[in-house]
């Protein structure tokens, strides 16, 4: 590639996509690189999908500030783009005297983090909110603004918005070495080199490796595997709030959370690995979760498991976000972004823009920025195409359900292939539509969905259907 971009952002996860989008709002040419064949295919795709208030962050840290700001920024952005969010609220449940004693401290900490709406409640109130909770809860702390969100749509919205603003998205570009040419940096990458005046490292699980390519040795990323169980939608009425553990001397516990797709999550485990690609599940992990679940909510375990998955968190040996600009090297590290990065992403992007401006990159706001994209709705709290009679009447493809469990229509699958960032794989299609994510895991629809992937969504949209006869 002969062109030199003003900025190259490495990593098209939530943080990298948000940064590319933000910088493309100025008179800058921006490239967004990712080692994988899709955006959001690393640590951003598999997390607990919680939009955090930041009530339990460490006060005074950068993370605390950016999560707090990010909560509001992402809430607004979600409203604008149609990212599904449900403001369910959370309840921390104390099961031991030690945990109960920790609640006032957590409440004070929340206030230090600028969040003043928590309340300590007794066991009656806990069980009033969560009648299916297992026996033995002693009390709790409410966090009314903790929310659930679709992490896939968040990532895709930010990346789509970036592309809409003119960002060049370069997939399958794993950066292997870098070369400083004085006024620009050449990123040697599989699939073609990329040249840019400034480089932002938002490489998530690989951020420490990329950082070393730039001559630094600041931190080490340890992939921390979190395994999760996803329960059937029939379990959803039991869990109307995020049920959080109280952090205690026994370590961080396991949560139960509703999802915007109408399921229930149980997890995660926390296990440090060496392999940065091992997203498999383990026998020990699943057993641990079932043991926890049996205590937290035995009724939940009577329901079917729809999916099991594992995500890798980019745990680092640094206690806070590690976001630093190197003006001489025209390089910004955005490292140590743990699972709170989903919430904080847009605020991190604002912060990074400030850092590069201070380091001498001219940020001239662009005029006539395109509107942010309106994303297809994957959330149960909002109207989905299969429910929308007017939309089906206008285009029968929205009435042709191809994935029965998740009620995904042929129209939605077709649309995603016509979108600015179409899926490259079945996993990409699943993240964009929910197809095959349901309880049958392909028993009924697997073959049909594969055919749709091969035909890029066109195979079942063109059928003709005889009109219905109205009733007598």
């Amino acid at each position: 590639m002969n062109t030199t971009f003003d900025v190259a952002v490495i990593g098209a996860g939530i943080v990298g996509s948000a940064i590319a989008r933000k910088l493309a709002g100025y008179e800058l040419s921006v490239a967004l690189l990712d080692a994988r064949n899709d955006v959001g295919d690393g640590t951003s795709k598999a997390n607990t999908a919680i939009l955090h208030t930041g009530f339990d962050a460490k006060p005074g840290t950068l993370e605390s500030r950016l999560v707090g700001e990010g909560y509001h920024l992402l809430s607004e952005y979600a409203e604008l783009t149609g990212i599904p969010v449900e403001h369910t609220g959370a309840l921390l449940v104390a099961w031991t005297a030690e945990e109960l004693d920790a609640l006032p401290g957590l409440r004070r900490k929340a206030e230090q983090n600028g969040y003043g709406k928590t309340e300590i409640v007794g066991p009656e109130e806990v069980y009033r909110h969560l009648p299916h909770l297992g026996e033995g809860a002693l009390g709790g702390l409410t966090v009314p603004d903790e929310s659930i969100i679709c992490t896939w749509t968040t990532n895709l919205a930010l990346a789509t918005d970036a592309v809409g603003r003119g960002v060049t998205l370069l997939l399958n570009r794993a950066v292997t070495s870098v070369e400083d040419l004085g006024d620009r940096t050449v990123l040697r990458a599989s699939g073609g080199d990329v040249s840019a005046r400034w480089v932002v490292n938002a490489a998530g699980l690989g951020a420490d490796v990329v950082d070393r390519l730039f001559g630094h040795d600041r931190f080490t990323v340890t992939p921390r595997r979190g395994e999760l169980l996803v329960y059937d939608k029939l379990a959803r009425p039991m869990v109307n709030k995020i049920i959080l553990p109280v952090p205690s001397s026994r370590g961080k516990g396991v949560l139960i959370s509703p999802t915007v797709y109408g399921n229930v999550l149980l997890g995660p485990t926390a296990e440090d690995l060496v392999d940065r690609t091992d997203t498999g599940t383990s026998e020990k992990g699943l057993e641990f979760l079932l043991g926890k679940g049996e205590k937290l909510m035995p009724d939940l375990l009577r329901e079917e498991v729809t999916a099991t998955y594992a995500g890798l968190r980019a745990a680092s040996d640094h206690p806070d976000y590690l976001i630093e600009a190197d003006a001489g090297r025209r390089y910004v590290l955005v490292g140590g972004i743990r699972s709170t990065g989903l919430t904080a992403g847009i605020a991190i992007a604002e912060h990074v823009a400030g850092l590069v401006r201070d380091a001498g990159l001219a940020l001239v706001p662009r005029e006539n920025l395109p509107e942010p994209p309106r994303m297809p709705n994957l959330g149960e709290a909002f109207t989905r195409p299969y429910q929308d009679a007017a939309r089906i009447a206008a285009d029968p493809a929205y009435g042709k359900v191809v994935c029965f469990c998740e009620r995904v229509t042929a129209g939605e699958v077709r649309d995603t292939f016509r979108s600015p960032i179409p899926p490259a794989t079945l996993e990409g299609l699943r993240r964009r539509t929910r197809a095959m994510n349901g309880r049958c895991q392909g028993f009924f629809c697997g073959a049909e969905v594969k055919k749709l992937l091969e035909s890029r969504g066109e195979s079942t949209c063109e059928q003709r259907h005889a009109p219905l006869e109205a009733g007598r």
Binding site: T279, L286, E304, A390, G399, Q463, L468
Partner: protein
Amino acid sequence: MTSGDITTLTPAVVIIGAGPSGLSAARELAPRINGDVLVLDRESTAGGIPRHSDHPGYGIRDMWRFMSGPAYARRLVRQAEAAGAKILTNATVTNWAGDRTIEATTPQGRVRVEARAVILATGARERPRPARLIPGDRAHGVYTTGHLQNLVHLQHGKVGKRAVVVGAELVSWSAALTLREAGCRTVLMTTEYPRPDSYSLFSIPGRILFRTRVATRTRVTRVIGRPELRAVEIEDLDTGARRVVECDTLVLTGDWIPDHELVRAAGIAMDPGTNGPLVDNALRTDRPGVFAVGNLLHPVDTADIAAIDGAHVARSVLAWLRGRSAPAEQVRLIADAPFRWVAPEIFRPKDRAPARHRLLLWSDRYIPFPRIVLRQEGRVVARKRLWWPAAPGRVFRVPTSVLAAVRPDAGPVHIGVET
């Protein structure tokens, strides 16, 4: 939530699911009632599971024939249509809008169906890998039988070359047949039971025909391979010894769960044994005018038995439409170990006998000539030796004559075996 116009249909009977049980019910009802019989199915072709089970063995007990699954499915569709039933495919029922009113999404629009009677015939599915909690890599090449047969028989897709099949029951051999047709060798079948669960009629020639070994008392403990499946780890349940078997295809068969979402959504009483709705001899659920048939009730029996349910329910539906209610006296039937479930679960002594005069049970143990014993309030009310085995992986049938001495005014009847 809906917006815009919705088409309202008002058949006398709506049947949800156009598989063997639903289509048979439609065929029997359509000529006998005043009003329409409407069958809804979410697939684009009616016929249910037999559509993609492309091997012989269908239609034995309901049509007295021996035919392939697809031919059987087509015949059921023809018969139902010839009888005057209307079949609407690509129709996904999404919710209830009243006791006997449902709403559906179709390419022709949103539809509300207000019927006088509803028959639920939604069938069953196999538990997929996550529901079985098999850990390991997220590998491509892991299927259920339904997924595999859809892929091979309907979409003519490709699978691998070396398969491990989990299960050694009827459906497992059906999967092995499909794999063979797709050019994939079944190198191993595994079952947690001490012997293959299928009829030896299938197991012995099957093993020779497929050159397949059946590993008994064995479970899969790990899936290995990213992104493509490379192997599975299996464990001998008795010794705990584990070993790795190379394969590029893994088929998870059996372990059925009824597609009971609509039953649960209606708040209809469920049986924790079958995971389907509780029904009586006449296949009534506890919601008046709502009936259930087929493998939603007994996961799973063969297609012909599901079809016979359909014929059986027709008379019950006709009686309901004529205003006749169920006899009040009823006794709950409860399956005791080694039985996992019994269907129907509710016996009304004054009602007509269950379909084929048989109770259906599922056994977790192989018993060559079981002596069945029925107890009510601790007292033995019947004992009967049967000359066919109770075996895991297939339905065990007990003649309803054992219920003759059941007292209608007493407590639940426990069905077990005497050893």
